[in-house]
């Protein structure tokens, strides 16, 4: 690089202005610059200090200052950059020297310590000298050297580049507080990778949008299921990023990963996977899942390995295999239900040909090709990807390996088998099995035949105390592999390894080193050579036990019939056997409460001994029932599936003697007595209540009276506690709203409270029994006894209720033996609901004004909904009291008859009316005067009846201003015409307007005021003495009064409800 070039280079770097100066006015500039430089020098010092300080100050300082700084920036970078460029190239030392020189030159020039001429001279001389030297050097060196230099130069840069990277200490690469944080996010297990990918797609998608994701990275570790990690500055950015992704659970927290743990999350564990020909692997997936295979060869890239293993060829294909055997086979494999997988069996040409046809198998050299797979010596040889193989924890069992070694025809071929693995494994097992105190015997070596107890174990050496005369307290040390557990007949053992691994059983005999035991499960004998463990074998793996009913997936349940080391054999309800790991089981099911019936309709319970009535006629004990349809039975006599089999519950019959079935012993005394729970139509509350009827409010037309939807009309679709879901008529929208904010909307548009108004809902909605029967109980507060605002005694609680006290007079059917009629009356009692149509009273109810129907229009019996949850046993009693009033009395009371007849209680003893007929006079009952009672001849002529105004709200008489006011009737004007209101002139005690104390009031709003005290003058409202004036002699209680009629001096015991106060008044209503 020449000086000229350098200079030109430098010049280019300088600003245009300065460029000119340099070219044209150099001397001048130099001069002026010197001055400037002097200033600058001072500035420089200042600035250097300041630069160290806060840079913000720069902004605060004046423009001038900014200018100066700008100039500096011009200069300095020029030099620096120059240095940088050179530094990067990093030439020979000579050159570096040159650079230094040059750089010094430049600085010298800058500082301008010499005169300008001197400076120029010196500089040029130096330049020339350097140039000359270089040319000389170039000449001195030969071309080879040059080439060498160049190559060295090139190499060195490259080397230094990587060197730079690796030179950074690992410590400095570690994240610090200044770096973005790592956030752990919970996700659905198994979806981690997908979610990371969706995050990536999302990031790419939004990269150039208004709101790009602010996360830096995201990753997931296979070793940490259920979580992904996102790198971001804040949790908010993370939550924004994961927002909307399915399978992410931000609700479970976005947790900050501590800085010190960040690195370890990303550490990759070096896996040394050595796959060498001859080693053993297991196949992870597919038809051969779990099968042992031997590595034959490995591809160069190590991705695939050639394996040899025992094939599983389905020799009983379901379909007719002929032409397209391969296709069918494929389809079968596609199902991949490995419970269907055929057993391991060596490839046998004849067998396969027999099943699949001659065409399907071709032979090349020593190798058969069948369904694209190669078979040699009975083994299948197939290439597998390394990822599909399990390389560690292979633990081949002796059994498996012997199958390999034995080969197809049973001939031993020892080649290629590494027995050391097994030897190692079994030795470990031998040691791990032994415990101090175990009874062992020595089976090899000098001490062979000695037996005793283990005293201690140190590593591979077992110290044992032999039993026998000649030993007498000695202890001998034996290698662990030379001893084995000693078994005696009758011991309960569990097999550790081998074909019968994990089976438990009782030892039948011990001959040499072979133990014969009787398996607990299959009750078959098996021989053992392997180490076995004494002790109670548990049949519990995880939380599951043998013969548990377990849920495998949504559709499948099964019974565990065999437990293995860490898996189960499960027989599912379809009769298929599955190998199931504990984690594949969703839950254990409890079928104790499951109900199923056998072929005769009897309840099938767990533990019953039953027999199939069709099919194979198998017998067994019921283990479980499922969905009332499947029954899992167990019978030890069947070897298959551990004696467990599944059948349809409907095809079973109890093995117990026939007569026994309904005998007591068989019934469950902790449940409802079936003898009682049957029949009895009235037993509504017992069994059917379970789910409960649907809410009465559903389907009701309502109007919203509060809230944003106020004024909207809709239909209640569902209710939930205090809330209702209302489908609005407008907008076809369903809203959830407090019931409080709803009012029932009647067809005429009027509104009324939601809850109370079901009585006036019009025709009963739900069908079924008795829907037309007025049910007094469902009236709740409307039952006369209830409805009288406390003045009427509560017949249910009060012992003075006629029904109770009058039991001598009224035959109370419930009194005898405390039996409620529902119990034994089931057969005899005419079901009131069934004969509702026949009840005469029902038919007459149409023309008879129902006294209850006119109480402000809200107490119609007819609208009653069927009794729900009514306890018929207890409730009916009071209704006996109603009966009496019924039959004999004309007019108002006759309408109680229908009511009485329709109640179940009435139905229970139809003779009641007759009995009660004569007893009326002294009977009391809840009474309410009929509407327009004032028009009745007995009362219309009376003056001074004390009345109260009621029912004017809504109805409109003076807008309810007079509601609750009391007054005396001066006269009654009966129009005898429906179109003109009959009115009564009433003098109010406390008139609203003092100037108008007397007003005509429509008679329907006037109601009797009942007496409360002794000596009040009253008029009897109903009964034989109706209209007769009387005086209250005594107040027994608030529902019973003794009155004496004024003229005949009859003494009558009645309730105040049947009485009305009357005042002796003058012409204008003043009391005399």
């Amino acid at each position: 690089m020449s000086d000229v070039e350098d200079e030109a280079f430098m010049d280019n770097e300088e600003a245009g202005e300065e460029h000119e100066e340099l070219e044209e006015e150099r001397p001048k500039k130099k001069h002026s610059r010197r001055h400037e430089d002097e200033d600058e020098e001072e500035d420089d010092e200042e600035e250097d200090d300041e630069e160290d300080e806060d840079e913000d100050e720069d902004e605060d300082e004046g423009e001038q200052r900014g200018k100066k700084r700008a100039k500096h920036r011009h200069k300095r970078p020029a030099v620096n950059r120059f240095l940088d460029v050179e530094a990067e190239v990093d030439e020979d030392e000579d050159e570096e020297e040159d650079e230094d020189e040059y750089a010094r030159d430049e600085f010298i020039a800058d500082t301008g310590l010499e005169g300008e001429d001197d400076y120029d001279m010196v500089r040029r001389a130096a330049d020339h000298a350097r140039y000359d030297r270089r040319v000389r050097e170039m000449d001195d060196r030969d071309l080879e050297q040059v080439a060498e230099d160049i190559s060295q130069r090139y190499r060195r840069t490259a080397v230094r580049y990587t060197g730079d990277m690796s030179d950074v200490p690992q410590r400095l690469l570690m994240p610090s507080v200044h770096d973005a944080n790592l956030w752990q996010v919970r996700v659905r297990p198994g979806k981690e990778r997908d979610i990371v990918f969706s995050l990536m797609r999302k990031a790419i998608d939004l990269e150039f949008s208004n709101r790009p994701l602010n996360i830096l990275s995201a990753f997931q570790r296979d070793s940490l299921p259920g979580m992904i990690y996102v790198e971001a500055r804040s949790a908010k950015q993370v939550s924004e990023a994961i927002n909307g992704l399915v399978g992410v659970f931000p609700s479970r927290g976005i947790n900050l990963v501590p800085i010190e743990e960040m690195a370890s999350l990303l550490q990759i564990k070096q896996q040394e996977l050595t796959v060498t020909p001859g080693s053993w692997v297991r196949i992870k997936r597919g038809k051969y899942q779990g099968d042992l295979a031997q590595v034959m060869d490995v591809t160069e890239n190590g991705e695939e390995v050639g394996l040899k293993f025992i094939p599983r060829i389905d020799l009983n294909p379901k379909d007719d295999v002929g032409l397209d055997g391969r296709k069918r086979k494929k389809a079968g494999a596609g199902l991949s239900s490995f419970n269907m997988r055929p057993p391991q069996r060596f490839f046998n040409y004849e067998e396969v040909v027999k099943v699949y046809g001659r065409k399907s198998v071709s032979k090349r050299n020593q190798v058969y090709v069948f369904q694209n797979d190669t078979y040699k010596d009975g083994f299948i040889e197939k290439d597998f990807r390394l990822t599909a193989l399990q390389l560690d924890d292979v633990n081949p069992t002796l059994d498996e390996i012997t199958r390999f070694t034995r080969g197809q025809d049973g001939t031993e071929n020892e080649t290629n088998v590494d027995l050391s693995i097994i030897a190692e494994a079994s030795r470990k097992a031998a040691i791990s099995v032994l415990q101090p105190g175990d009874h062992v015997e020595v089976f090899e070596g000098e001490q062979s035949g000695v037996h005793g107890t283990v005293h201690s174990i140190e590593g591979d050496v077992v110290t044992m105390e032999p039993v026998g005369v000649e030993f007498d307290g000695q202890r001998i040390q034996i290698p662990a592999r030379s001893v084995r557990k000693r078994f005696k007949p009758g011991d309960h053992v569990k097999v550790m390894t081998g074909k019968n691994a994990d089976e438990t059983g009782l030892v039948v005999s011990v001959i040499d080193n072979v133990v014969t035991f009787l398996s607990d499960m299959t009750m078959q004998e098996a021989n053992l050579r392997e180490a076995a463990e004494v002790g109670t074998g548990t049949n519990i793996v995880g939380n599951y036990e043998l013969h548990d009913l377990v849920q495998i997936d949504q559709q499948t349940v099964g019974v565990i019939f065999k437990t293995e080391r860490d898996s189960f054999r499960v027989l599912d309800q379809n009769g298929q056997v599955r190998l199931v790991q504990p984690h594949q089981i969703t839950m254990r099911r409890d079928s104790n409460r499951a109900i199923a019936t056998d072929s005769e309709g009897h309840e099938l319970r767990i533990g019953d001994n039953v027999k199939e009535v069709d099919g194979e006629g198998r017998k067994g004990r019921v283990l479980h029932t499922h969905q009332s349809f499947f029954a899992f039975l167990h019978n030890r006599d069947y070897a298959e599936n551990g004696g467990v089999f599944v059948t349809r519950a409907r095809s079973l019959a109890s093995l117990a003697p026939k007569g026994n079935i309904m005998k007591l012993g068989n019934t469950d005394l902790s449940k409802m007595n079936p003898a009682l729970s049957g029949g009895a139509g009235g037993m509504v509350g017992s069994g059917n209540i379970g789910r409960g009827p649907r809410d009465r409010l559903i389907g009701v037309s309502v109007m919203v009276i509060k809230g944003p939807s106020k004024g909207y009309v809709g239909t209640i679709k569902d209710t939930n506690g205090p809330h209702a879901r209302v489908e609005l008529l407008t907008g076809n929208k369903v809203i959830t709203i407090d019931k409080e904010k709803l009012r029932r909307r009647n067809p005429d548009g009027s509104l009324e409270p939601l809850e109370k108004s079901f009585t006036s809902m019009g025709p009963p909605r739900s069908g079924g029994f008795g829907s037309q029967t007025p049910n007094p109980y469902s009236q709740g507060g409307r039952t006369p006894g209830w409805g009288q605002t406390g003045r009427t005694p509560n017949p249910y609680n009060d012992s003075r209720t006629p029904a109770w006290t009058a039991s001598s007079r009224t035959p109370n059917p419930y009194a005898d033996h405390g039996k409620t009629p529902a119990w034994d009356a089931t057969a005899r009692t005419p079901n009131p609901y069934n004969q509702g149509g026949k009840t005469p009273a029902w038919n007459t109810s149409a023309r008879t004004p129902n006294p209850y129907a006119n109480g402000g229009g809200s107490s119609t019996w007819g609208g009653a909904t069927p009794g729900r949850g009514v306890n018929w046993d207890a409730a009916p009693t009071p209704f006996a009291a109603f009966t009496p009033g019924a039959a004999p009395t004309p007019a108002p009371f006759s309408m109680q008859t229908p009511f009485e007849y329709q109640t179940p209680a009435g139905g229970a003893y139809p003779q009641t009316p007759g009995v009660m007929a004569g007893a009326y006079g002294s009977q009391e009952s809840q009474y309410e005067a009929p509407s327009k009672w004032l028009l009745e001849p007995e009362f219309s002529q009376k003056r001074g009846l004390v009345v109260e105004v009621r029912g004017t709200f809504g109805g409109g008489w003076h807008g309810g201003d007079f509601e609750g006011k009391q007054g005396v009737v001066l006269s009654v004007f009966d129009t005898h015409n429906e179109s003109f209101e009959s009115v009564a002139r009433v003098r109010f005690f406390n008139p609203v307007d003092p100037l108008q104390p007397i007003l005509p009031v429509p008679v329907q709003f006037l109601w009797p005021v009942h007496p409360e005290h002794r000596e009040e003058t009253v008029v009897i409202l109903d009964g034989a003495q109706k209209g007769v004036e009387a005086r209250v002699e005594a107040v027994e209680s608030n529902n019973s009064m003794v009155v004496t009629t004024m003229d005949t001096f009859h003494v009558i015991d009645t309730s105040p409800d049947r009485l009305i106060r009357i005042h002796d008044i003058d012409e204008v209503g003043n009391r005399r």
Partner: protein, 131 residues
């Protein structure tokens, strides 16, 4: 070996069974519940000999069911190692015919919570098929 043992059993009775025949219910329930069952501790309960005390029914809060702790005396059978028993062949693996009567000596037992298994031998003097 057979024993006579005093045992107790708890019966839950639904209120619908309360009444004059309650004792009948309880007794038959007891018989059906315990006879033929096996507990690992006492062995098989062969028969209830007598009911010592049917118990006072205690009404359980909540369900209304009554709980009776019944004490009774029962014949129980528990096999022991070394015991010689007579039996009938039920399941055959070897030479003997089904339903033959055999005398055997128990060499080992396995006791589960609800079952007892025993292994016996007939390979000794005076053991084997009896007629």
């Amino acid at each position: 070996m057979f024993f006579i043992k005093e045992l107790s059993h708890t019966i839950l009775l639904h209120p619908s069974y309360f009444g004059p025949r309650m004792l009948n219910f309880l007794e038959s329930k007891l018989y059906s519940d315990v006879e033929g069952t096996c507990s690992g501790e006492f062995g098989y309960i062969i028969a209830v000999v007598s009911i010592l005390d049917i118990g006072k029914g205690m009404v359980l809060p909540g369900s209304g069911q009554a709980e009776f702790v019944t004490r009774y005396r029962a014949i129980v059978f528990k096999p022991f190692k070394g015991q010689v028993v007579d039996g009938v062949v039920n399941n055959v693996t070897k030479i003997i015919e089904k339903n033959t009567r055999v005398r055997l000596k128990i060499v080992g037992t396995r006791v589960d919570a609800t079952e007892i298994f025993a292994i016996g031998t007939i390979k000794e003097d005076h053991l084997g098929v009896i007629d």
